[in-house]
Symmetry: C2
Subunit: 416 residues, 2 copies
């Protein structure tokens, strides 16, 4: 009875029928099971999968497994704000497309995706659309005529250990792997009833205040978006300024080491995230920032929880400029190995990590005449993203890259 009641309450909040909704053990499991089941259900149509390039890793991992298993995957690109277009999805559709996936909003930069428009394009082509609604479901139902939906309770402030998988009636779906009689055969294992009941209750509670809280948090993140570039020089605020989640704001600070900045902010009592390469175990920048083509160094993601106060935001804005300046000072003045060669300068930044290559580029750009070029040698993966982003911010010309004896040579022409 508790399970039935939780299912009904959650289905109402999602905007689906109770018998279309299964509780899974996490949002990740919901995505994995949803994609695998939908692909298998339409295996006869074909094995082509469409995802955006800024999906959550659970979607991209599913796509990798599909590729390894012989399936085809198209990654739809995003614009500099992180959004896909319905047109790009339309272009990606093929006769053998089994499934398309799109997040409702991005988890790193907050940009909302045009789900309803993409759903319409997919519907017209007879292709089901799976929406990863993990970021947005607490704020409201996902609009548009989607076919499958995945979400995660802890993302809306509920407990860990509960995900949602919704499969609309009429969508072909063949669960993969061992199943049992639970959750329509879509999520095997003993139901985590206490957590499921808490998830349903918390979704209802969060939704009751969502409209009001969204306005309040949106004002606070708008304040961060506006003030940070005034307080801190050389900052790029990323993500769509209008079509965005209320509580997330992300920016990147030039010449800053993301990991050190996180430590500085942590010491001041702020727990933020970063998509900078130095904060990842693989030493590569976030795939989202990469897909957007924006600066990844000194990246900071601020997530304001329900109830975050104006005072906390003001204190963050007080602390940030000093923290960034401190990191920049520490990274200070590493002497670039610069050799003058007529009007071309070579900067050897081999073996140096983000943000050093960009710092060294910035230091020498004034040493070549306008029209001259700087060649930066680097073996740091982040340079591929950050040097073009710096050129865009500084209105210099990025001429491209070429293989070097060691690492890669990035060519920049001084325009001003």
């Amino acid at each position: 009875m508790l399970l039935d009641a939780a299912r009904e309450a959650t289905a109402e909040a999602v905007g689906c029928r109770p018998d279309e909704l299964s509780f899974t053990s996490s949002g990740t499991r919901a995505v994995h099971a949803g994609i695998a089941g939908a692909l298998a259900g339409r295996r006869r149509v074909g094995r082509h999968l469409i995802v955006s390039s800024v999906e959550h890793s659970s979607v991209l991992h599913s796509a990798e497994v599909h590729t390894a298993d012989g399936g085809a995957v198209t990654e739809v690109p995003v614009d500099r704000a992180g959004a896909v277009s319905a047109r790009a999805y339309s272009d990606a559709l093929r006769a053998d497309t089994a499934l398309a996936c799109l997040q409702s909003a991005n988890h790193e930069v907050g940009t909302e995706q045009p789900v309803a428009a993409v759903a319409e394009v997919c519907r017209a082509a007879g292709v089901p659309l799976l929406v990863d609604a993990a970021q947005s479901l607490g704020w409201g139902p996902v609009e548009g005529d989607w076919s499958l939906l995945a979400a995660s309770a802890h993302k809306w402030g509920g407990p860990s250990g509960v995900g949602l998988l919704i499969v609309r009636k009429g969508v072909r779906f063949a669960p993969q792997g061992p199943v049992d009689e639970r959750e329509s055969g879509r999520a095997a294992g003993f139901e985590n009833l206490p957590a499921i009941v808490a998830a349903a209750a918390s979704l209802r509670a969060v939704r009751a205040e969502a409209a009001q809280e969204a306005v309040r948090l949106r004002e606070l993140t708008e304040r961060i978006r506006g003030r940070v570039p005034q307080l801190v020089p050389d900052v790029e605020v990323v993500g769509d300024p209008e079509r965005r989640l209320p509580g997330i704001v992300t920016f990147s600070c030039l010449y800053v080491d993301g990991e050190t900045l996180l430590h500085e902010l942590d010491r001041a009592g702020f727990s933020v995230s970063s998509g900078s390469s130095c904060t990842s175990s693989t030493l590569t920048p976030s795939h989202v920032l990469r897909a957007m083509g924006v600066l990844s160094e000194g990246n900071v993601r601020v997530s304001l929880p329900f109830g975050a106060t104006e005072e906390e935001v003001e204190r963050f804005l007080d602390v940030l400029p000093g923290a960034v300046a401190g990191v920049r000072e520490k990274l200070g003045a590493p002497t670039p190995t610069a050799v003058v060669r007529e009007d071309e300068l070579v900067v050897d930044a081999l073996g140096k990590r983000c943000p050093i290559p960009v710092i060294e580029l910035a230091k020498v750009i004034g040493d070549v005449p306008v029209g001259g070029t700087v060649r930066v040698l680097s073996d740091d993966e982040a340079a591929r993203l950050d040097i073009p982003a710096w050129c865009e911010m500084r209105e210099q010309e990025y001429m491209g890259e070429e293989p070097a004896e060691k690492g890669t040579a990035y060519l920049i022409r001084r325009l001003r």
Copy 2:
């Protein structure tokens, strides 16, 4: 740090290294992931899987998927007490055996399996053994040289939503499906940290009292095992009388409808389980009782939790005889359609459900002379199990079954 501490504490209780242990989202997930990963890891050796016939459904579902995928599965039979033998596992081993699975103890009848001996047989053949330790891990570590182990926190009194998968160093293991960087790539998704910490703490707490509590509960279940056949006529206590879990006792009552008996006991305040066909959604008797070849009708499983008192057990023993008698009286005297045919009687029990076919057989067995036969026509799946079991209890000869025009004819010779 909390996750590391939980992992160390749990590994110590299991008797493994912390880096061999992954937390999964349930015991079922641990079994599914463990079997799939171990089979894939030894794919080059072959695709033969060995399981016992009384494994938990999560193991049997994995075996079904493996069969559907073209793999081979051998089900090792059990004796009437529900136990496998190391000899039977030895006989089942083949050159292409990739994996063997065995529970530490049975979840329905409490019988402990000879895990250490089976592990030795497997080890000698170079085949990894996966132990489903869900039933026993709260009582102590699993002995023997096993290779993989799965368990479930809610089974030892911990929270829902946490399973354990242990893969010993050196065991070939290839995780299947999408994975992420969490839990050694063996359990994708956001860690359910509060539940994991609670699981580790509860295992430690339960283990601290396990030895003492085991003695106490064993005395109480021994009392039920001994007293029930004295208090209730025509009862078969099932499961091994010695090698068994402390807190589980299971018996079957002839001529009783399991579902009705459960309702009667529930009204008296006792929540028990049953493996009778009438209590299952598929109307088939429990696969465990079937594999053991024991009576399945009127089946009752009593699980005594930690702290169960002598008074509660005595009250159960007070209530049980009246409850059984009441159900038997209700089922009362359905008139069998009996046609005398020389020294063979035909009982038409078509369309009637367990325990009616056995009741009708019992009513007419006295109507044929010793040496004569009764032919019971039945289309109830439980009859296939319960008629032979009744013959064994009543020392009559079960001659076998043959297809009838409708359903199946079961042939019984009167011996006394």
